[in-house]
Symmetry: none
Subunit: 203 residues, 4 copies
DNA sequence: AATGAATGAGCGTTCATTCAT
DNA sequence: TATGAATGAACGCTCATTCAT
């Protein structure tokens, strides 16, 4: 990796960092490339040297954020063997990733949704990727006997949605102060639903 | 209701109908007031006679859509007495309302989110209203002994999120073809979670 | 004069009164016909029944204001016979007319100027009318031996300008509190100029 | 001064030149930024790159014109020592500055007045600056014994007004063809008033 | 690689005027 | 006479994108 490559990479990264902040603060439509350039201590031309368009910057951010979320979740699940523990690990990984980076949460769960048709596909793909991850785990857990047979497609989407909504509420209203505090309740709900754990079952 | 009132109201309603279509198709930022005027067979000035701003049109739509959703859900729940049946009714009402009006679903679950800070408050309020409705039901059901004690705040948000996400997937990907098809699975997940109904329990 | 004529006249006058207030407050360009209608307790259509256009309202006001100023000045001069006293009377009449009606002063000296080419002609005519009045007086006074021969055209314009500027300053800055307070100084300046009255001359 | 600075400055100046012409021709309200852009052989965006708003362009012009007028007058007065000669120099400087630039005269004496409350302050300031210049001169001349004691505030405003009105007439009606032709008459009026020079006084 | 001046299409909003009632 | 809903042209301003340097 040559010095100039490094410099170029860091410049590109500075642009992405600035873009994340601006997009999260202003939303996609209201974000100005000028502002991204200013925040990244570059010029407008500099931004356009590294990215072909404003849209491409946003897509880069979504892709990176999605990849980060997936990777963290996968890694956390891989560290466990027990099916239930795998699920717990996934839940915690998502809550921790979003809880530690509010701008990222805002970008992925809020701004990306209304940014236009072009991004819906990308977002659908990400949702699908994540659902696939959860679905694969559910399939395994079902095969393992930990869970009864179910429609894993819908179950994974619902799992994802329940988690998303608590994160979204946290982003929009600031409640609860620490996102991870929802973990015990959410865990119980995901596992046992509203009716709670069956008698004689542990935890 | 005089004739002129009727006419004026109908013009206003035509604008709202057109706006719903345009906002759902283009998103808030990309929607042009010109296009709304064209679709409602009015002039731009006509639109601005009935609404002070583009933002006000959007807010009107969100408020109306939110009120419709709440009202339908409340009405459906009121028709039942059994706690479990109330929950089922709420779930079905939401799925049917959204399933019967994809543009409305897109507006409320997708476009309103990324439309800017001004709308987040309104949306938060709606989310809170809906969560309160569910929370009140859960409180009752817990008191009734149908559900064990739980953190109803988080539970209602998670309930809402699981439903929203399936609706969102339907809006974005068209799956499943009929939204209501998710009802049985979603119902089971909400009630019993991933681990399914306890042995000896009926459905 | 029939009752309806009276009513019509009074309605028309109410529009003019409202227009004077709005034009003086907002300027010609920023004044809205809607606002004039509101202030005159009429509808927009009502305004347009009495006047063919916004421009016509403004011209009516300018004409009326100009006529009032001319008439007051002429009447005041007619009441005197001594040439110097005639001049004093004219000066006082102008100061009193403007001093008693700030909106009128603002309209004639400020707003009418920048309102557009269409009004410049009208304003020029008014200026010319007034200058003619002063010029006729000066001609008489010169013939009388009260003043030495002079270029009465320029003198009348300068007279008008000196007065106008003090009124304009009053409108814009509020100084002096009572416009008529400038009378003694202005009188002396107009009669004797900066060098003051000649030795042996009385006031 | 680098080449790019020169180019940027010249573009900015071209915009100002075009704006002066358009504002003088159409008035502030009727002037379109599009037209300014066309006349300066730029694009609308180009105009807005150099100025934040239409209002700012207008203010720039007023400030520059006011500064030019003040500077020319001050310079002309500084070149003389005799009080009377200083006054003559000031009068000539104003007449020549306006007489040589009709658009500038129109901007400062006509369009700026009716352009709105925002500009009145600026214009008041300019009037005050100019009045201060004249007042300072009058104070000196009084101390020198050239003029008798007087209310210099009002005298300077009247001086300014008499000159302005002749310039305004020239702008509006084109009379006299050469503005400077009013100089002798105006000079005499300002010095001696309508009653003319005292017997035994020279010039 | 980087800069920033320049472009120009597009948009929200205003408002004088018209006209059916 | 009077009303006020409707029209539509006009305008100030923004901003993603380009490109000469």
């Amino acid at each position: 990796m040559s010095g100039s490559q490094t410099k170029s990479e860091s410049r590109r990264q500075r642009v992405l960092d600035a873009a994340l902040e601006v997009f999260a603060r202003e939303g996609y439509g209201n974000a100005a490339v000028d502002e991204i350039a200013r925040l990244s201590a570059t010029s407008k031309g500099g931004v356009y040297f590294h990215f072909p368009s404003k849209q491409a910057i946003f897509l880069s951010l979504i892709d990176a954020a999605g990849a980060l979320l997936l990777e963290r979740t996968e890694r956390a699940m891989a560290a466990e063997t027990d099916p239930i523990a795998k699920g717990d690990a996934a839940l915690l990984a998502v809550l921790r990733t979003f809880g530690g980076h509010r701008a990222l949460a805002r970008l992925l769960l809020i701004e990306a949704l209304g940014a236009g048709r072009e991004f819906n596909q990308r977002l659908s793909d990400l949702h699908a990727d994540f659902a696939r991850l959860i679905a694969a785990y559910l399939d395994e857990a079902v095969a393992d006997g930990a869970f009864p047979p179910m429609d894993v497609d819908i179950a994974s989407v619902a799992w994802f949605g329940a988690v998303n909504q608590t994160v979204t509420r946290w982003v929009l209203t600031g409640e609860p102060e620490r996102l991870e505090d929802v973990y015990p309740t959410l865990r119980s709900l995901l596992l046992h639903g509203l009716q709670g754990p069956c008698a004689g079952e542990n935890r």
